[in-house]
Symmetry: C2
Subunit: 429 residues, 2 copies
Amino acid sequence: MNSRRFVLASAVIAASIAAARAQTPSTGAEAIVRSPSFVAASDFLARDYDRFVRELITLTEIPAPPFKETARGAAFLQMLRASGLADVETDAEGNVMGVRRGSASALRATADQPMLAVLAHLDTVFPEGTDVHVKRDGTRLRAPGVGDDTRGLALMLTMIRAMDAAHVQTPLDILFVGNVGEEGEGDLRGAKYLLLKGKYKDRIKSFISIDGGDQGSITNGALGSKRYRVTFKGPGGHSYGAFGIVNPAFAMGEAIAKFSHLTVPANPKTTFNVGVVNGGTSVNSIPTEVSMDVDMRSESPDALNKLVADFQAVVRDAVAQENAARSTKEGKVEADVKLIGDRPSGETPVNSLIVRSTTAVVKSFGLTPRYGISSTDSNIPISLGIPAITIGRGPSERSHSLDEWTDVEKSSAVKAAQVALAIVFAAAH
Amino acid sequence: MNSRRFVLASAVIAASIAAARAQTPSTGAEAIVRSPSFVAASDFLARDYDRFVRELITLTEIPAPPFKETARGAAFLQMLRASGLADVETDAEGNVMGVRRGSASALRATADQPMLAVLAHLDTVFPEGTDVHVKRDGTRLRAPGVGDDTRGLALMLTMIRAMDAAHVQTPLDILFVGNVGEEGEGDLRGAKYLLLKGKYKDRIKSFISIDGGDQGSITNGALGSKRYRVTFKGPGGHSYGAFGIVNPAFAMGEAIAKFSHLTVPANPKTTFNVGVVNGGTSVNSIPTEVSMDVDMRSESPDALNKLVADFQAVVRDAVAQENAARSTKEGKVEADVKLIGDRPSGETPVNSLIVRSTTAVVKSFGLTPRYGISSTDSNIPISLGIPAITIGRGPSERSHSLDEWTDVEKSSAVKAAQVALAIVFAAAH
């Protein structure tokens, strides 16, 4: 993900983390940031900067299309091991993960311990064959996927090394995950597996996804989305000999045109997209089948439902129009509308522990916290009632486009890593 | 091909072939059909029927997508050899061919001899992965490509065997070709190579393509066509984060819708098609690029030119409309309109030798000759001034659709083969 809306916090959140956490030996955000072990870890991040950049480039240049994250996952698995994490493994869905033991695990049976999950996703939106070679442009690195979410993966690695180097102790176990299936048709399959089927599913009690932009942004809202693949089918035939019969490509064109004319509210933000079109066998054949992939999102479930209804009407109208415009003697055009993505909406309350501790950390770095809503892996824990937020990985722009870039200017990159580390450190108390 | 328009011959063509061919030992069509060697060859066709059907099925079940005819070509090469043809080879373009020596070659240097080329095309319109398994349904064989033009290939093989079995002697050498690239983007590359670059290019003085339906039809007109790939490009971006910027898929949808609303004359027959659509990387990305393949044809060059101009205006308007409807702050949508097929139109005159001899043969079988115009490999020789026609392979329907079928009822199949053999036999005089 790279997209969300943020509003300035309407209420000042000033309560200390310690006061809210009776059962854990937490200190406040200020105390965390000033603690000797955090300072040591923080210093390490600056020394580890070159390696962070190197690993970011290495990982970016391993293609990871949706459902084809294996090669990048294998490389990430080695990097997790090399960064000092134990219990490193790949689960049945393809998530690559390892556990950093907290102090509580040493006292009680591990199976009972609550766990903080920290995720960055392995997959990018880009298909096989995309040129993923990284180009440098001053302090900017340019490549498809370099920001979303490869920078999140590289940030996770440097954080783990920093905690290891500074012998940071957290009360909670932390599960670090490079997960599959965040983008598009992946439909959050990695996060779903982790929380619904994986070996740690009953232990994960809080959740942080590193998959946003700058570090003032705290995504605590899950943006709902509905995704459809619409397949227009018809009898097909020779472009000249059978001319005059219905053409599924014409019906789809009509549907796209009508869809593009829909108006949606700016607030609550509501969006729609035709992301992929595909179909037909040859220039001189009337297609038997063409399809389009459609994405619709809204901050408001009601606005989303209205948009989905409008979209379905558009498809019906376009099909009826084509069947009326041309001959159906060989058969009609029909549309098969299939739901291919359904991301639940929801919210981790602003007064929840994880949002409050993150807010305090962000402020302690002199940043202004902004709360946002987006569609990320956090949608899944939020829908399950598990407190979850999505935080920044550092500045990147033009995500999902071929000219995506991320800025790795050293001082800001190190600061972004320090804020993320402090957020994770605080949340693991 | 499978599509053409036929008109009943307005003039009765009664001249004997012999009278028109002072320099060859030709007899009239009636005489050809009654000659002992033709009768023997004709009888052989009935005995060879089972093998014809078997080879038709075998060849149909070897996929031959455009530009991927190699496997089928290799099998056809073996079959040409097994059917008694000499000098069998594959040329640099992929055409599979062999020569059947005529009596004139025995008297003079071969290099000087005029030659009749007889073609059927190897390629089908169907892409890799299409199920090409042949299903029987009474006397019908159902499979993609079974008619167009695999039946032409199988017919050619049985004809060669019949000529061989009956020791038929023709004055002219006959070049039998299973050629590549007739369909779609192949853009007649096989016929072009044969006539412009191949080793026999200066010897081919007449040309028959076996690529039509029933045997009363004589395609002597070359239907002109123009084909374009239109690529709509834009900045792309995240479907939610970048919502509001221009979307190339919306521009293409608008163009397809407007294109589908165009009206074209029924006479001269003028047609248009969107045959393939493609593009985009993921459902949640605004595409950077989508494309469509467009086919336009007309019996009239003027009507074709008008349609092409209308089509280009439609693309321009759709692009302008999208750039006006949404933000261009990240860049505009642009359309790249590329010509991918340009088939010349033209005609082999009805009073040409090859049309007259074919007409006489068709009549001698009690059929009513009809002259037609179509887009086939004959477009190329016609554009070069080489007399050329396209003749039938036997009844088939639903070409270019997945439910294509051809009828192989024995008596009609054998008769279709006899007519084709007589046409070739007469044209080789």
